[in-house]
């Protein structure tokens, strides 16, 4: 029994944010009288938050690499949306080509900012603050004083809003429609997950590393498979897979791979942990910093395409304030403001926490002003919890319970 508790405690930190998300979901499920997890609402939550998640992943790399943020992403969303509007609707260019060109715009924006930050060494905060104004200004100019360009063609929207086509068919049971492709995909993902878990555990066992006991492994596989399949069942009951979920899934998978498995990722963590030591170890820190901001521009560009599709128009103020959501998502997800600490999955969860919070508060009809206040406090609480639970600080004695003894001292 003690061993079980010890195992739970050891893995607790890793799952804290996931538990926080689960808690918030259950809380709003209760408060909204079950409306939060209705298939249609889950579908909406995904569409409402996909662009934030995409930006949060880019933001994470910036934060990881140097502890610096990008304030311009909201304006870049607006700019790229405006470009898409002009290319596709005004000039009637091919939507596919236009999508590629818009991604190019994002990359150019990133290269511009990366140049000043990485090579001229102007603090990122200042460069991106400037970018925030410059790109918003450019958006307004492109849209000729702020006139929105409405209605994108279907070819464009198919990638970013709406649903992927149904390949297999719809199964009607007990008055419910079940989209089978979606269901199958969920089962497939769960199966692949279980398979990789078993294989990696076997290989660990063979090479003599610490490996999970069959019991622990089974529990983990069952819980995660159940969540995955349940989630896809929800979607299958509404319309199937939102296409943006696929975009998001690919991006999250690619960046998880980059950060955990590649030399590039390791170098980013090293640079964030100690830039001088990383440089003296042969890491080209300038190029890496440049890459981080180019990448941020690229992902902000994709977020801009998604958001324009969702609004179904290119509007001058699109993306206003998004930077704060993206940054907040990273910090809620456990990234360190000093750099070097954080994960892609953490940022995705952080963004989902923000998203569910928004959606839940909307459903229960909370005053918009109060909503802002709650979000601000949640951000602070999440980071404070993280800092205190890592034991880097001891609270002043009047905040401690018990007889004024610090519970944990890590100073040596």
């Amino acid at each position: 029994m003690n061993k079980v508790i010890a195992t739970v405690r050891k893995n607790m930190k890793q799952y804290t944010m996931m538990l926080a998300l689960a808690f918030i979901v259950l809380m709003f499920q209760g408060l909204t009288g079950g409306k939060l997890l209705l298939p249609m609402n889950v579908y909406n939550i995904i569409n409402q938050n996909a662009y934030i998640v995409i930006m949060a992943i880019g933001m994470l790399l910036c934060i990881l690499g140097s502890g610096s943020i990008d304030l311009s992403v909201g304006s870049v969303v607006g700019l790229v949306g405006a470009c898409a509007g002009i290319l596709i609707m005004k000039w009637k260019w091919d939507p596919y080509l236009s999508i590629l060109l818009c991604m190019g715009v994002g990359i150019l924006v990133g290269a511009w900012q990366g140049f000043w930050i990485a090579f001229v060494k102007i603090p990122a905060f200042i460069v991106t603050l400037s970018g925030m104004l410059v790109f918003r200004g450019a958006t307004l100019i492109l849209l000729q004083g702020g006139k929105a360009i409405p209605v994108f063609p279907a070819e464009y929207k198919q990638f970013f809003v709406g649903t992927t086509p149904e390949f297999i068919g719809v199964w009607e049971v007990a008055g419910m429609k079940i989209y089978l492709t979606c269901l199958l995909l969920g089962i497939l993902i769960a199966a692949v997950f279980c398979l990789t878990q078993v294989i990696s555990n076997q290989s660990k066992k063979r090479k003599g590393y610490e490996y999970a006991t069959p019991g622990a492994l089974t529990v983990r596989m069952v819980i995660i498979s159940a969540i995955v399949i349940w989630f896809f069942t929800l979607l299958a009951r509404y319309r199937g897979i939102p296409s943006v979920l696929l975009v998001l899934g690919v991006i999250a998978a690619v960046y998880t791979f980059i950060t955990t498995k590649t030399v590039l990722g390791r170098h980013i963590y090293a640079m964030g942990g100690n830039p001088k030591a990383a440089r003296l170890s042969g890491v080209n820190t300038e190029r890496l910093m440049f890459f981080n901001y180019v990448n941020m521009g690229f992902l902000a560009g994709i977020a801009g395409l998604v958001f324009a599709a969702r609004l179904d128009s290119a509007t001058p103020m699109a993306g206003d304030g998004f930077e704060l959501d993206a940054i907040g998502a990273c910090y809620i997800g456990g990234a360190s403001a000093y750099g070097g600490v954080g994960t892609v999955s953490g940022s995705v969860i952080g963004a989902l926490i923000m998203g569910v919070l928004n959606n839940g508060m909307n459903i229960i009809g909370m005053d918009v002003n109060v909503q802002k206040l709650v979000k601000g406090l949640v951000l602070l609480a999440a980071v404070a919890f993280d800092v205190v639970s890592q034991g880097h600080v001891t609270l002043p004695s009047f905040l401690r319970f018990g007889k004024g003894k610090p519970e944990k001292i890590t100073a040596r």
């Binding site: 498995k261 590649t262 090293a270 030591a277 170890s281």
Partner: protein, 516 residues
Amino acid sequence: MASTILRMENITKLFPGVKALDNVNIDVTEGEIHAIVGENGAGKSTLMNVLSGIYPYGTYTGEIYYRDELCAFRNIKDSERRGIAIIHQELALVPHLSIAENMYLGNEREKAGVIDWDLTNQQAAKYMEIVGLKENPRTLIKDIGMGKQQLVEIAKALAKDVKLLILDEPTSSLNENDVKKLLDLLLDFKNNHGITSILISHKLNEIEYCADRITIIRDGKSIETLDKKADEISEPRIIKGMVGREMTNRFPARESKPRGDVAFEIRNWTVYHPLYAGKKVVDDVSIKIHHGEVVGLAGLIGAGRTELAMSVFGRSYGKQISGTVLVDGKPVRILNISQAIQDGLAYVTEDRKGNGLIISNSIKHNLTLSRIEFVSKRGVIDKDLETIRAAEQKEKLDIKAPTVEQYVENLSGGNQQKVLLGKWIFARPDILLLDEPTRGVDVGAKYEIYQIINQLALEGKAVLMISSELAELLGMCDRIYVMNESRLIAEFSREEASQEAIMGCILQASKGEISA
């Protein structure tokens, strides 16, 4: 008969999972210099943190009596009010504030919140004179050297009317000249100002020089207190107490001899300061190292040794670098650090926390960082292979940690230094530039690092060893170069080299500079 100023009785301090202090007893007599010695991690700094209130009363067990009064310090302010001041190894000065501002930080000369700058500067000047610091009180901290910064810290303590001064490894970043000045200052405090000092140090010759009594701490326990009047105090005697066994040889013997061929050569190397245009930090230096040879580079701090090593290592320091580098007799152009690593160079920095390690990462990640391509394919890391290689390295260098997943910040100084060395050995270099490889490391770990260096020489690698401890260079090196004020001024073979000869030629060179 002098009275006892401080008595610490049965001090025990627990950290989660570790007993840092175990029934430590110390008494310090008024007006003496009391040295505390012990290996890294023996508990010296913890003990001083208990004394100064950094670990408040109640978080440890045992009693502290100051002038026969039981102390219950809740924080540093409490202990300072009683006249106890602690100067930490890492100085706590604000670089962009002036000397005077730093001295009175937290203790401002003010009326109703308004600072009286004339009074501040005047009083600061008074204390600066006592410590022999010849600077304007308005000079910014960033513009004065480490030695002077140390003096500012001491002057700051004096300004608080200190009675008991605690210095935690005060000389670890000073050169031999400044060390002597500092120790003489402590003696002056004792004789003329009635200030008692507690000196924590690794450097036994310093302790021999100025301490009246020595308390030895080992594994969190106070082992014994030696008295200069009663006991024989000698380095071997102190080392025996510290490590619990006799250490006859401080430097392990090396079996291998340097081979005939030159592995590494620098010709006419000149480097300018990165900020001050026209200031040469390395001036026309030429050196060579053979395969299997350990070559020392002696000199005072600021002589240009680190600058030389770093500028060679992929131009990581300086501007307008000129000169030739030859590896195995062939000229190479090294323009950046990754080229330097490719060409078989390794630079082990003197500042392991600042420039060397990523302390928030694991041992494993640190060990593989400089040559991660050895454990990856097409940019993808083979994590299992990485773990295996890192574990081998940990085993080889005897890094004391449960696993390679351990974070570097949780290791002792000696083990961190071994990780830093291991990181560069992992890169399989042919030429190692070691900058102060034993700084802030205890006697036992030093010996192990010397063994590692010998092993590298045995494998035929060329080693350049920069050190401010002459004894270490004399004990380890086949040849010793001496640098002074950016220039190479002498070269000694092992037989010719002696402490006197090297110091003598440095002093002479400095004098020559002045008369010229």
